[in-house]
Symmetry: C2
Subunit: 674 residues, 2 copies
């Protein structure tokens, strides 16, 4: 355990932790993580065995416990009961006994009486992307531990887009010895599709290598049905390795009918985003477990409450949440609270956030319940329904009280840098971009007409557009001097995706319905490829914004009239910051505010700018409107929406990448203008 009890001491100290949670030897210092048992060194599991041998003796009363927690009402997530008069005896990081601890109490045993409070296991998030918090993992632990999140299963597919296996290595190293246990899945979608460029690549060979490392588990969310259904070689090599290693294969999204059967046939057994109550029930019936983000699946939870399904197959997960929302709402505690508000019986809600997730991940020998042999991850809760967490014990130590962290966390030596060198300097442009790079030439047959101004048809895909209907998103845009222009007056902006991993110089151009009237916003957070996206009202500001993102080695930058209005540096893989969480949250709010200031209502009235001229309006009368809820979010939090708006995974159909616009189901390129 590498914690200091001095909360002021946030200096990073050399940690002797291993990749396994706990106190085993450090891995080799080479670029490749040492496997579980490198020749000639102690296995990192040897320390666990020694501790378990000690637990046995404590349980038998032949050695003494370090800590006994008593006087609580134990929420037994295994049986669904609430039991009184159960002492919890702890030795080192783990629980030795739950019951009558008198035999193992000695003069040096600390005794904590929680005076009738509830005792629950620490929360376990079953599907999580730390990158979305914008925080380095240990910084993320600083704010979520106090929320009761003592373990999570990270899918680092964001960081793997730039970093490949190095990103997995980073998560393991940055969290080694932390009281928050971070298990790491191997992403299945690096690259996210075959039609975009990333730095990392994870195929069967890389998956197999990663599985040698402690705390690495499972094949991450399979979010690319076209490649599964189309026998893509890389995708199926991952499936083969998962089957061979007996590892879970995680799912993503909601399916029904034949596509659900096909998805399950590939060996996929879970989803965290069924999307509709009907999908959720159908997927449970077809053998899936589900891990719900209560915030977005309220209807699903209500529907499942009406059914009589086995709830041991249903868990909770946060998936993605930016730092400012973590500070405002909480972590998995927020989902538990929402679930209870939606009518889930409280004990069941805690089961969903603890043992159900641990069982899904086969981690229930270590986490998810209060029982001998498990990590001593225990929440002291005064109000079960409100999830009022008074104290948090993690790995046998009290780490937080009343929402405040009591300990300072440490990360291993990173050579006095923000992160290990392999996690930095990941934004690689071929050269600085210029305004000209964002010009969209009109097709030759149109410019050849010799007219000063003509119209072209253009694809303008609104964010979160899941329809098959291309006509509804086809509009007419003006051509000036041989180049197609956006129609700012109707909310249509020029957008681009600038490749940043390999220095290919790829720039994918498009028009999307964002409604920015001024300036430009660029960012290296672009799910899931994490190239640089930029949207702007003019090509010059777009170029300034992209170049600034490159200059700060990743982050979010808002520009107007050539000047940076606000920026959030994210130098770790271009996605995360090592700065204190409050500081990152503040900068995040600042870029949101600056970005919102560049915007008009996307579904609103004609703006102050010139309307497009020519035959009819530029935007087809029937073109689909942005749903009002989304439009509202876009007005308030455009950056948040922008980061997810270029996703290429199911259930999307038309996507923009650094390589152009594609029908993702066929991987066929579509013309931007014609």
């Amino acid at each position: 355990m590498t914690m200091s009890m001095n909360p002021e001491n946030t200096a990073k100290k050399l940690s002797s932790g291993s990749l396994a949670p706990g106190s085993a030897p450090a891995p080799g210092s080479g670029h490749t993580i040492a496997p579980a048992s490198p020749a000639g060194t102690e296995s990192p599991y040897a320390a666990e065995v020694r501790l378990r041998q000690r637990l046995v003796q404590v349980a038998l009363g032949k050695q003494l416990a370090d800590l006994v927690i008593r006087g609580g009402k134990l929420v037994n997530v295994y049986t669904g009961e609430i039991l009184e008069d159960m002492d919890i005896a702890i030795a080192g990081e783990r629980i030795a006994l739950v019951g009558d601890a008198n035999a193992c109490i000695g003069p040096d045993t600390e005794i904590i009486d929680v005076e009738g409070a509830y005792l629950t296991p620490g929360f376990v998030d079953a599907h999580y992307h730390i990158e979305s918090s914008r925080l380095a993992p240990w910084r993320h632990a600083e704010i979520t531990l106090a929320r009761g999140l003592t373990a999570l299963v990270e899918d680092p597919h964001e960081a793997c887009s730039p970093g490949g296996l190095d990103a997995i290595r980073y998560f393991l190293e940055n969290t080694q010895g932390l009281p928050q246990k971070v298990y790491v899945q191997v992403p299945s979608a690096t690259p996210p599709t075959n039609v975009e460029t990333t730095g990392g690549y994870i195929g069967g060979k890389e998956f197999k290598q990663a599985l040698e490392w402690p705390r690495v588990t499972g094949l991450g969310e399979m979010m690319d049905p076209p490649r599964i259904f189309g026998n893509d070689a890389r995708t199926w090599s991952l499936v083969k390795e998962a089957i061979s290693a007996g590892q879970p294969i995680e799912g993503h999204g909601g399916f029904t009918g034949n596509r659900l059967a096909a998805y399950a046939s590939a060996g996929i057994q879970s989803t965290h985003s069924p999307n509709t109550p009907e999908n959720a029930l159908e997927m449970l019936r077809q053998g899936f477990t589900i891990q719900l983000k209560a915030e977005r699946e309220a209807n699903t939870i209500k529907k499942l409450l009406e059914s009589q399904v086995d709830w041991s197959r249903i868990g909770l997960a946060v998936d993605d949440r930016p730092v400012e929302k973590l500070l405002e709402l909480g972590s998995l505690d927020h989902e538990v609270r929402l679930a209870i508000e939606l009518g889930v019986p409280p004990v069941r809600a805690y089961q969903m956030a603890t043992i159900n997730n641990a069982r899904h991940w086969r981690l229930d020998r270590d986490i998810g319940g209060i029982a001998p042999g498990r990590y001593a991850d225990i929440l002291v809760i005064s109000d079960l329904e409100k999830v009022a967490i008074e104290r948090v014990f993690a790995s046998g130590k009290e780490v937080a009280r009343n929402g405040k962290l009591l300990v300072s966390l440490e990360v291993p030596d990173q050579g006095n840098r923000l992160a290990p060198s392999y996690a930095l300097d990941t934004v690689k442009l071929r050269r600085k971009v210029t305004a000209d790079d964002f010009k969209v030439p009109a097709p030759v047959e149109i410019t050849c007409r010799g007219q000063e101004r003509v119209w072209v048809h253009a694809l303008v895909i609104p964010p979160f557009y899941f329809s098959d209907d291309l006509e509804a998103i086809t509009c007419k845009l003006p051509v000036r001097n041989g180049f197609v222009e956006p129609a700012l007056g109707t909310g249509i902006n020029k957008v681009a995706i600038v490749e940043r991993h390999q220095g290919t110089g790829n720039i994918g151009l498009g028009f999307w319905r964002w409604g920015f009237e001024r300036g430009a916003i660029a960012m290296s957070v672009l799910h899931d490829s994490h190239n640089i996206s930029v949207v702007g009202a003019n090509d010059h500001d777009m170029a300034v914004a992209v170049n600034r993102v490159a200059a700060i080695q990743g982050g979010i930058v808002v520009v107007e009239n050539g000047r940076v209005l606000a920026e959030l540096p994210l130098p770790i893989f271009g996605l995360m910051s090592d700065a204190p969480p409050e500081e990152v949250a503040e900068l995040s709010r600042a870029v949101e505010k600056a970005a919102a200031g560049l915007r008009i209502s996307v579904n609103g009235e004609a703006p102050s700018g010139a309307r497009p001229e020519g035959e009819g309006t530029a935007v087809n009368a029937g073109m689909s409107q942005i749903p009002p809820d989304l439009a509202k979010t876009m007005e308030a939090k455009p950056v948040d929406v922008l980061t997810f708006a270029y996703l290429t995974c199911h259930p999307r159909k038309f996507v923009l990448t650094d390589q152009g616009i594609f029908d993702i189901r066929t991987e066929k390129r579509l013309p931007l203008v014609w």
Copy 2:
């Protein structure tokens, strides 16, 4: 799949199956099983991937199903519902779709309408010892497949006592390609204790090697608390490898309080024999799953029905059952039937026998439910409560109808022998035994008195004696010519355990309360060391019986007056027969009958033989009686009782092995006479 549809054809054919269930390449022919992906050959998982790719296309309606089962009431064990109008589309060995199969039905698709019958998943036994059936695994499949047992998790700790890793190899090879999926645990108790001699040895290194083989899963039942609690090096090296590989660690027995906490602290998470309802509930609360043999845990099932525990953590298991009982009662179907009779709601009873066990074993991607991607193991049941199985589909083919096997099973080439050479010739005596080998010399200080006849104190441990009380099982036995004699008149016989694995010549002698009046019974089935046990009324018959067991290379032999009355040859590891099940059952009944004929009532009146003479009776007045139920079983089925009577595992305290009598908790030797 290696099945022929000709039920008459029972000739063994060369199988091209792999160690994985299904149709992958054969392992290397060397003595060591090839690992999952030997260099230069196709991984056995490649075939599974190819089939899953086909399933995907069938599910999407782009390829056609081989078989569609329709018209049934689907027992959905995932949700606990019964659903109608669900087609099951099958391609090869697995299910491609559950729902509307119209899109994948073509002219060559076989359609079976089950006309309103129930459809349940095939049964999965969570804890099983095929050896106890006395049948070779493929012969065991011949009778249990028709009972709906399409998968089981074997713990070969019986066969590993003689065979070590070779026994694991045998189970894998003998079942490769069978429609009954046999998964194999690695036994934790080879040798069963430190105070007995076996042929096999399984430590951390051997465990790790076995885990490389497909279908090998988990560390088998930990039945040796003294070694767990006492930091035994071999035992803890197994724990370490299980932790390192993320493999389940199976439990055994019922525990409570501090010992339960100690047991759980070692990382053990299940039990199949809680023994009492109170233990069962306490163990569930402490994070265990349980797999109940309904036949012996009726009270536990009733108690759990009164509680509100989460039943997803409770399964069913047969553990041990000899062939004649399998034929009479059934396999796991019998446990399901009993559970329903005890009040378990029918769908829940089926969950206990299917998905709950598959989840426990992390095999739910392949077995335990009717869903896409799983093996097509499906039971057609006319009466859910009576478990009336009309048809059995296994790995996509109908294998049994109305209790009759429809296919002939095949085993791989064994060189025209009963079994591979490494599984034969495992009974190795140093030399033939003689009557003198069974003489018990009286202690020197007694014989030195120079009297013709004196008494000695002797330990006489009744079968299944779990008490700490030594006094209650101490009696006085007569000495004649310097040797201690049994007291046949009070049911006390001489017994011996003759080492048979290594030819050490060890013979452990004892007196036990069996009540045999004539002859002798010897057998190489002796849980768990499987040395040769012999019990008899005279030393000569004992020697004849032991030598006959050696001559037939293992089995059960009943002798009277130097003549073999009945024998059951078990030449495979001295435990199993390759003969047809009915034949083995017949011989088994014959040896039981012959053995019972040698016996008098153990708690009954004075027998016809001479009573022991001298001061008082030979048997202390207070000496504990055999419980009436057990005495009844012993009268009817002495062989069945004898096979288990010398167990050395928890909760036993005093044991007889080839090395003598021991207090198993301390591993200290006790005197037989004094």
